[in-house]
C-alpha cells in the first residue's frame, strides 16, 4: 500500500509544484514589494504587538527577551492558523476541478500547507535577524545562538505535520458542512488567546497552567522558546511528544479524509 501511495505521489508531484507556484504568483501579483512582504510582515506584526503589550498594557515577561519571545509566538501561531485556514477551504475552492478531472484530492490541502510553509521559512529570516540584533541590545536581553538550534528543523517539521493533519480533517468536514468555515474562524481566535503568544504562562492561575499542557500549539511554541529564548535543551520526552502530536494528527486527518473523499463529489 505504501508503495502505491509513493507511486501516486510521484506521479502528482509535478501538479503539486504547479499549484504551489500558482499560489505564489497570484499572492504577489500587482504588489510593488512582492515577496519582501513575507519578510516585512512578521516584523511589523511584532512591532505593533510589542508596542501594544509592553507600552500600553505594561506587559512584561521578566528576565527574557520579550521581542524574541513575542515574535517566535507570532510566526509559529500564524503559520498554523494561516495554513489550516487555507487548507480548509482548498477542497471546496477547487470543486470545479474535482468535478471534471480525476486528481487525488489530498493534494489541495497538502499543497496549501507547503505553500504557507515556504512562506514560514521566509519569515525565519527576519526572526533570525531580530535574534542577531539582540546581541546589539535589542530587547534588553541577549539570545545566544546555541547548539540546540539544530533541533529547530525537527520542531518545525512536527508543527508542519500537525498542521497538515488538522488541514486534512477540516477540508474534509467543511465539504459536508460549510458552517465549519465560520466556526473555525472563531475557534482560531479563541485558540489564539488560549495560547501564550504574547503572554507568559506564569500569569495564569495554576489550574489553567496545568490545562495548558493539553494545548498542542503551546507545546510547539514552548519548545522553540526553550531553545531560543531560554537557551536550554528540551527534554527527550517533550521532543517525543511533538513527534507524536504531528504523526497522530496526520494519521487521524488522513483516515477521516480517505474515508470520506469519494463522497465529496456529491456535496461540492
Amino acid at each position: 500500500m505504501i508503495k502505491k501511495i509513493l507511486i501516486n505521489f510521484k506521479r502528482y508531484w509535478f501538479l503539486m509544484t504547479q499549484l504551489i507556484l500558482r499560489d505564489f504568483k497570484v499572492k504577489y501579483k500587482r504588489s510593488v514589494l512582492g515577496v519582501i512582504w513575507s519578510l516585512l510582515y512578521p516584523i511589523l506584526m511584532m512591532t505593533v504587538m510589542a508596542i501594544v503589550f509592553s507600552q500600553m498594557f505594561r506587559f512584561k515577561v521578566e528576565g527574557i527577551n520579550y521581542l524574541v519571545y513575542l515574535m517566535t509566538g507570532i510566526i509559529m501561531f500564524n503559520y498554523f492558523s494561516e495554513a489550516s485556514h487555507a487548507a480548509m477551504t482548498s477542497v471546496v475552492d477547487n470543486f470545479l476541478l474535482i468535478n471534471k478531472v480525476y486528481i487525488p484530492k489530498y493534494i489541495f490541502p497538502l499543497a496549501k500547507c507547503i505553500f504557507v510553509g515556504i512562506n514560514f521559512l521566509l519569515t525565519l529570516i527576519p526572526w533570525l535577524g531580530v535574534i542577531a540584533l539582540s546581541y546589539a541590545g535589542l530587547g534588553e536581553y541577549t539570545c545566544h545562538f546555541n547548539i540546540n538550534y539544530l533541533l529547530l528543523p525537527y520542531v518545525f517539521l512536527c508543527l508542519f505535520l500537525f498542521t497538515v493533519g488538522v488541514g486534512l480533517f477540516l477540508s474534509c468536514v467543511s465539504v459536508f458542512l460549510r458552517d465549519v468555515f465560520y466556526i473555525y474562524g472563531i475557534v482560531t481566535t479563541i485558540w489564539n488567546y488560549l495560547t501564550p503568544v504574547f503572554y507568559s504562562i506564569e500569569i495564569l492561575p495554576t489550574k489553567l497552567q496545568y490545562l495548558m499542557r493539553f494545548n498542542p500549539l503551546y507545546q510547539f511554541l514552548n519548545t522553540t522558546r526553550t531553545i531560543v529564548v531560554y537557551e536550554q535543551t528540551p527534554s527527550l520526552a517533550t521532543l517525543g511528544m511533538l513527534g507524536f502530536l504531528g504523526l497522530a494528527a496526520v494519521a487521524i486527518g488522513s483516515i477521516v479524509f480517505k474515508k470520506n473523499q469519494d463522497k465529496f463529489i456529491y456535496y461540492v
Binding site: 509535478f14 500558482r22 504568483k25 474535482i98 468535478n99 480525476y102 459536508f176 463529489i265
Partner: protein, 254 residues
C-alpha cells in the same frame, strides 16, 4: 481496455436540502417522514450497466439528455466512484470532458499551459517538449504573456483545446467533438479531434450527432434512463435510436 461490470450510480437529490437547521429540525421530529422522503429523492443515474471496450475500439454512447451518458464518462474516468459494480481500466485515461477547467485567470497563458497540463496529468518533460507545439496550434503566440482573464472566450477555448489535445492518449474519453474558436480554428480543431479518435486508440465517445457516430464508431451503446437499451452494430442502433426519438415513443426498458 475498459471493462464495466454491473455499474450503478445513485444520486441523492435531497442532499442540497439536507443541511439546514430547518430540515434538521424536521428530521429530528419525524424520522419516519425522513425515510420516505429519502426514498423519493433517490435517483439512479446508472442502473446495472455492463459493457466492454476492447483495445483500439471506438465505442459511441448515445441516448437522450439525462440518460446517464456523462455520468458514465465520469465513472470511467474516475471522477466518481460507482455506488455498485466495478469499472476496470487498463491504461492512462485522457479525459476530454471539459476544456479549461483549472485555468487561473490571474496567470499568463504560458503559466496556464503548465498548470493545466499538470492537472491533465502530463509530466514536466512532456510539457517542455510539447510546449512549442501547443503554442503553435493555439495561434496565440503573441499573447503568451498576457493573463488569461484578459482573453476573449474564443481565445481561452483555443488555448484549452490546444493543451487538451496534445496527448498521445492510451484511452480517450470524449464528450462531443469540440470545435471551438473562429471558423478557421473550428475546422482545424474538428480535424484534430477526428485524427485523435481515428488514431487507433481506445475511445469512449459521447455525441448527439449521429452522423459523426456512424462515421467514427465500431460499436454503439444506447443508454436510456440509466439503463442500456441496446449494444451492437453502429448503423442498426443509430437507425433504431433515430426512429424512436422521432417517433416520440418511449423506448422499452429492459
Amino acid at each position: 481496455m475498459i471493462d464495466i461490470k454491473n455499474v450503478s450510480m445513485k444520486f441523492n437529490l435531497g442532499i442540497e436540502k439536507e443541511f439546514s437547521i430547518k430540515q434538521a429540525f424536521v428530521n429530528f421530529l419525524s424520522p419516519k417522514a425522513r425515510k420516505t422522503r429519502k426514498k423519493k429523492e433517490e435517483f439512479w443515474a446508472l442502473n446495472d450497466v455492463s459493457f466492454h471496450v476492447d483495445k483500439g475500439e471506438v465505442v459511441g454512447l448515445i441516448g437522450s439528455n439525462g440518460a446517464g451518458k456523462s455520468t458514465l464518462l465520469k465513472v470511467v474516468s474516475g471522477v466518481m466512484k460507482p455506488t455498485k459494480g466495478k469499472v476496470q481500466v487498463n491504461g492512462v485515461i485522457s479525459p476530454m470532458i471539459e476544456l479549461g477547467a483549472g485555468f487561473d485567470g490571474n496567470l499568463t497563458a504560458r503559466e496556464n499551459i503548465y498548470l493545466n497540463g499538470a492537472i491533465l496529468g502530463y509530466s514536466k518533460k512532456f510539457l517542455q517538449d510539447k510546449f512549442e507545439e501547443i503554442v503553435e496550434f493555439s495561434e496565440l503566440r503573441e499573447f503568451l504573456d498576457v493573463p488569461v482573464k484578459n482573453f476573449s472566450s474564443g481565445m481561452t477555448a483555443k488555448l484549452a483545446f490546444s493543451i487538451a489535445t496534445i496527448v498521445n492518449p492510451e484511452i480517450l474519453i470524449v464528450d462531443e467533438i469540440l470545435s471551438v474558436g473562429d471558423i478557421k480554428f473550428q475546422e482545424k480543431s474538428k480535424h484534430k479531434m477526428m485524427e485523435l479518435i481515428k488514431g487507433g486508440t481506445t475511445v469512449l465517445y459521447v455525441s448527439h450527432s449521429l452522423d459523426s457516430i456512424r462515421e467514427l464508431c465500431d460499436k454503439v451503446v444506447w443508454l436510456e434512463h440509466g439503463q442500456i437499451v441496446d449494444i451492437g452494430d453502429t448503423n442498426r442502433i443509430c437507425d433504431e435510436y433515430f426512429d424512436k426519438q422521432m417517433g416520440n415513443t418511449k423506448p422499452k426498458k429492459k
